[in-house]
């Protein structure tokens, strides 16, 4: 399902072999193509959002080899040989990830625009630090902005998911 962009006569083509949400993909990109555009346009995965375009808001957060990057400021060829996770790949066969479940149960989103980025970033936080303090959570999530919620419910959702993932009840 990858629709190539119209080719410029002298276009330089880079072969990019990578796993996207667990599946191997092989595409060709030009050097200037951004990861955000390739994920949204070629693969139709629109959970990742274009928002500030300057790496400040986090709405374009994707995980590359388990690490958070700004898809708006990452050249697509940089994911060759790596694994990319989008929000669409987080649920396991229809079973929501505890973070997704927690955001629903604790009202962690309103318009939902920042939410895919929030959840992916929170996943990295909890992978690194399964029992974060609120200060540690806030420091890690500092680069993910939300205009709707005032953050309280987001923090509650992440803390609840963390507790669940550590084996306690949420």
């Amino acid at each position: 399902m990858s629709k190539a962009m119209s080719r410029h006569r002298d276009a330089q083509s880079i072969a990019v072999s990578f796993t996207l949400n667990g599946r191997l993909q092989e595409i060709e990109v030009e050097p200037h193509e951004l990861l955000l555009d390739v994920v949204r346009e070629r693969f139709g995965l629109t959970g990742v959002k274009l928002s500030c375009d300057v790496q400040v808001c986090g709405a374009c957060t994707l995980l590359v080899d388990g690490r958070p990057v700004s898809a708006c400021t990452t050249l697509a060829f940089e994911v060759r040989g790596r694994s990319v996770l989008t929000i669409e790949g987080l649920a396991d066969n229809g079973n929501l990830h505890p973070l997704q479940q927690a955001f629903i149960e604790h009202g962690g989103f309103q318009c939902g625009f920042c939410t895919p980025g929030m959840i992916l970033a929170a996943k990295v936080l909890l992978d690194e630090n399964p029992n974060p303090s609120e200060a540690e959570l806030k420091h890690f999530m500092h680069g993910n902005l939300c205009r709707c919620t005032g953050y309280k419910k987001i923090i509650e959702s992440i803390m609840a998911a963390a507790k669940k993932m550590r084996g306690g009840r949420a």
Partner: protein
């Protein structure tokens, strides 16, 4: 969408120099891209070629030996904030790196790229000046060392030549008597004022005081005039002189009035941060 460019992926410093020498202004070094790609997206710069330097070997490690900590220019901020070598030898730098931008910028952005882009509102340069760091600049046939305090020339301008590549940063490993602190202030996305202080404390006497201010003006700079007011003094006397040092450092910062604040405000904040950094370093 970015404008089209050709990508070069050299595997040696010599190749990098050759490309830069041949294409001049129309080629640019590309590492993490966290500053470069933003400027390109804004249309403020255009390049026909980007030279991806991430294939160069040996430039992304942190090594401590013989009293020097060597940091490869391609180390990302994330590598630095999680480096056990740095945590042991230079915790003040670890703390700075933990607070650079946000988690995504730290993931992709390199210390080399940060220093070479020389954005005025950046953190590492200021502390590296106070720590007496030296930058290694390489090109095809030669290399040279540039003291951190001579590295930053002006806003977005370093003393690197067009075909030179920053490869390493060497920091003298602090001794048991060494004290240092870096404090910054800002409420926008980038820091507005940054102050670094470093000195040796023997008994209750301060020696080898180094003070650097950054972010307020076009480039970070060392402030020997303020250092003179504290160096060789007892901690009590230095504490009495700190306000005066703050005024000197504020004026030396070449603070520019902009969205981050007026010149007077920034000069004032320099003084406040210098006092607090001094207190933090002493304790």
């Amino acid at each position: 969408m970015l404008r089209r460019f050709r990508l070069d992926e050299p595997e040696s410093v010599a190749e990098v120099s050759e490309i830069l020498g041949r294409f001049g202004d129309s080629a640019k070094i590309y590492a993490g891209g966290t500053e470069l790609l933003l400027a390109m997206k804004e249309g403020l710069v255009r390049y026909e070629r980007l030279v991806n330097v991430k294939r160069l070997k040996g430039l992304n490690d942190v090594v401590a030996n013989n009293g020097t900590v060597k940091i490869g220019a391609l180390c990302t901020h994330h590598q630095l904030e999680t480096s056990s070598v740095l945590q042991q030898r230079l915790p003040v730098l670890v703390k700075l790196e933990q607070n650079v931008a946000n988690v995504r910028v730290r993931q992709a952005g390199t210390i080399g790229g940060n220093l070479c882009f020389a954005e005025p509102h950046a953190d590492p340069g200021t502390l590296l000046i106070a720590l007496g760091a030296k930058m290694t600049a390489q090109k095809s046939s030669s290399q040279r060392e540039i003291a951190a305090e001579d590295f930053f020339v002006d806003a977005y301008e370093t003393s690197l030549q067009e075909d030179e590549l920053l490869t390493e940063i060497h920091i003298p490993a602090p001794t048991a008597n060494a004290r240092s602190a870096y404090l910054k202030f800002g409420y926008l996305e980038r820091p507005s004022v940054g102050v670094a202080v470093a000195f040796n404390l023997r008994g209750s006497t301060l020696n080898d005081v180094k003070i650097a201010v950054g972010c307020a003006g076009p480039a970070p700079r060392r402030v020997p005039e303020a250092e003179g007011v504290l160096s060789g003094k007892s901690t009590d006397e230095a504490a009495r002189n700190i306000a005066q040092a703050g005024v000197i450092a504020g004026r030396a910062s070449q603070a520019l009035t902009d969205l981050h604040g007026s010149q007077e405000y920034k000069e004032h904040i320099v003084g406040v941060l210098l006092k607090r950094a001094f207190q933090a370093a002493i304790s």
